[in-house]
């Protein structure tokens, strides 16, 4: 028997939006996979396509090209029953708990609806028991003092936990947590991350965790992988310790340089603006030629304006793949323009 298929797999998935007659390639040729008990962290600045990628993985949108597979099964070929099982097993936790909880619903009712809809709790007593369990799992204890509350009666951190509890109602096997912790108090953030890690290590839940902060990626995905996105593409991916400790792509380095350090000495050593040439992110409707990072890249060479780099194993760090020709192919290419329209893993 072959090795079990990963829980979720994106295979050359792309998502192109059409806005005012223009094509916006929000996600281009992204391949990734997450298995049981694994964690993948997606990092990148605002607009790099993290949420769009996560929505593809959660089946909230269909890719315009490429495939999304759940346990090896292409989403577009699923039967209704398979699709139902996939919908249960993969849950997306929204980035803004303020927007995602219904203000007129109590905590109990927020959690009871999916339980009833999927037939996981039939009687009121079943619902109560399950709601108590869920609230205990997310450390909202004692549960009775939270179940009757409405969103406006809770703090941001408590709301965030309710959003997580809702994501857990259907005992998912893959949780996609989208920047679910960026606005939170540091202490609440840590307790949420520690709780999610417990779900992963003790119950084998797989995770896609989305953030723009590599310090959080380092902490949450140390035992997993980190993929760095830029303008819809993965530009570096590998085991988190390697990506953090020996970043290869100049964009990954800039993201690392930018992280504020909770240590005045380290903070003083940070380079201005993360070493980038420009803070402006190019528009998706008018992408720079060649490597789309070249207008901001401190290492850019002439050929970067013409050749589109593809993900390759880095010579200095074989654990990770990098889409940067200056890193993977330090000798100037013999002929320019060899890979028009290229991209994606070889």
């Amino acid at each position: 028997m072959p090795a079990p298929a990963p829980l979720i797999e994106l295979d050359g998935a792309s998502q192109v939006f059409h806005v005012k007659g223009k094509d916006l390639p929000a996600v281009s040729d992204v391949s990734l996979s997450v298995g049981e008990g694994e964690v993948l962290c997606l990092v990148g600045e605002s607009g790099s396509g993290k949420t769009t990628t996560a929505r593809l993985a959660a089946g909230l949108a269909a890719p315009t090209s490429g495939a999304v597979r759940f346990e090896g099964k292409d989403l577009s070929e699923m039967t209704r029953a398979e699709r139902r099982e996939y919908r249960r097993a993969v849950q997306y936790i929204h980035q803004d708990p303020y927007a995602s909880l219904n203000p007129i619903r109590s905590v109990r009712s927020t959690l009871a609806i999916p339980l009833k809809r999927h037939g996981l709790a039939r009687t009121a007593a079943d619902v109560d028991r399950r709601v108590d369990e869920l609230l205990t799992t997310v450390d909202l204890t004692p549960p009775e003092s939270y179940s009757a509350k409405f969103p406006h009666q809770m703090s941001g951190g408590q709301r965030q936990r309710v959003a997580v509890a809702r994501g857990l109602t259907l005992s998912p096997r893959l949780l996609i947590a989208d920047e679910s912790t960026s606005m939170l108090d540091v202490s609440i953030r840590v307790s949420l991350l520690n709780m999610l890690t417990r779900l992963r290590t003790e119950e084998g839940v797989g995770f896609i965790y989305i953030t723009h902060d590599l310090a959080l990626a380092k902490y949450f995905a140390w035992e997993g992988r980190t993929a760095v996105m830029y303008l819809g593409k993965i530009v570096e991916v590998g085991p988190t310790p390697q990506v953090i400790n020996s970043p290869q792509h100049p964009y990954t380095r800039a993201l690392l340089e930018a992280v504020p350090e909770p240590d005045p000495e380290l903070a003083a050593q940070k380079k201005a603006a993360g070493g980038l040439l420009s803070a402006e992110i190019p528009s998706l409707s008018d992408l720079p030629s060649g490597c789309t990072f070249h207008p901001r890249c401190p290492l850019a060479e002439d050929r970067c304006r013409e050749i589109i780099p593809v993900l390759r194993t880095a010579p200095e760090a074989s654990a990770q793949e990098v889409a940067c020709m200056v890193v993977t192919d330090p000798q100037p290419a013999a002929s320019a323009g060899t890979a028009p329209g290229g991209g994606g893993p070889p």
């Binding site: 606005m183 108090d185 991350l193 520690n194 310090a215 380092k218 400790n245 909770p262 005045p264 803070a279």
Partner: protein, 379 residues
């Protein structure tokens, strides 16, 4: 509250009633010449919010500190500890349900004149705000009026607050200068509506508005919280540069201690409306002496070096309406003893430093606080 008119006669402001004064040497950057007066001297400030017909909660309880010219102070602490309330109270911008119920806020201008901010009249406040002290509010996304262009909003600020009136030409020049100082293109931004700008551009435009009249004091509430990491870096670097260039004193509010490490000379930790630790950034980060500060630091992941264990602080801050007896942190504190719940600890001076850099902590067991990070994995 005291309604007498400013200015106060003493240019140095009231003497320390909060934590102890600095002794015969007095605070000083150097040994020569007299120490400049603090821009802001806050003593025993109390703020309460009305929560019902008869009920009020005390959101600030006896806050005291001095802020010296051109220095940078970080206010840190968990959500609800009173950071925004303090910022708003300093500028007399509290919402109608909030009220300063005691204490003094003394502002000393570049001319050496001191005034009690808590006693200023509405017209005095209008002249003082923006030109002497400005605030950049929490939540940049909503701070601008959505139906006015950035240029119109900057013009309004200038018209309302510039001394002795201001012409159209000068409005344009000053707005453009302020925008350029935060690296925004005036031609593009002046005519833009807020929704046409990215979060980072809006945040920079807000900082530019705060700087329009070259205030001596700038209060920034969570200036980077809603921004992604590269934009945060831009704003952090920009604030450091602007402060060096314009020489304003800065108070910034953040729940993220990493920001304090980046930008502050000095840190104040707040808990349940009180200052519970204060000291130079160096002292606070290397040897915090309040268990709460130590735990806050240990909840922030570093990106460089070893991977430390991060631990959250158990429980939640107390409700201001029903504070526990004694030390407000006691229900969450591992070091708590019987003694801690007897009476609320006062700030204890641990190391004397000039210019109000003195390290002080409100913990009776401060000598048992040994700050360290437990390493899970080596770099």
């Amino acid at each position: 509250m005291n309604d007498s008119t400013p200015p106060l006669s003493t240019p140095t402001g009231p003497q320390g009633l909060g934590h102890e004064s600095l002794g015969p040497d007095g605070p000083g950057h150097d040994d020569t010449g007299p120490q400049e007066a603090p821009v802001l001297s806050v003593r025993d400030l109390e703020v309460a919010y009305r929560t019902g017909k008869q009920s009020r909660v005390r959101a600030l309880r006896g806050v005291s500190f001095d802020l010296y010219p051109e220095s940078s102070l970080a206010l840190v602490g968990e959500s609800g500890c009173g950071k925004t309330t303090l910022g708003l109270a300093l500028l007399r911008l509290l919402p109608t349900l909030g009220e300063i119920t005691g204490g003094e806020v003394t502002y000393t201008g570049g001319d050496g004149r001191s005034r009690d901010v808590t006693a200023m009249s509405a017209s005095q406040l209008r002249r003082w705000r923006w030109s002497e002290a400005a605030m950049v509010f929490q939540g940049a996304q909503n701070a601008f009026n959505p139906v006015l262009t950035i240029g119109q909003q900057m013009a309004e600020t200038l018209k309302d607050h510039a001394r002795g009136g201001i012409g159209r030409r000068e409005i344009l020049e000053r707005s453009a200068e302020a925008l350029r100082s935060v690296r925004l293109e005036p031609r593009r931004v002046l005519g833009s509506y807020p929704h046409e700008l990215s979060g980072g551009m809006k945040q920079r435009a807000l900082i530019a508005t705060g700087l329009l009249l070259h205030p001596r004091l700038l209060v920034l509430d969570e200036p980077t919280t809603a921004l992604d990491i590269l934009t945060q870096r831009t704003v952090i670097d920009l604030l450091a540069e602007l402060r060096a260039e314009y020489g304003f004193a800065m108070i910034f509010i953040s729940h993220d201690l990493a920001l304090a490490a980046e930008l502050a000379d000095r840190v104040i930790t707040m808990y349940a409306g009180k200052v519970i630790e204060t000291g130079s950034t160096q002292d606070i980060f290397t040897a915090p002496k309040h268990p709460y500060t130590s735990k806050l630091i240990n909840a922030v992941p570093p990106v460089t070096g070893d991977l430390p264990e991060l631990a959250s602080i158990p429980g939640a801050p107390p409700s201001l309406a029903t504070l526990p007896p004694g030390c407000a942190f006691a229900p969450r504190c591992e070091l708590a003893t019987e003694e801690c719940v007897q009476s609320e600890p006062e700030l204890i001076t641990l190391a004397q430093r000039p210019a109000d850099m003195t390290h002080a902590a409100a913990c009776i067991h401060h000598d048992q606080v040994h700050h360290e990070r437990k390493v899970i994995a080596r770099a």
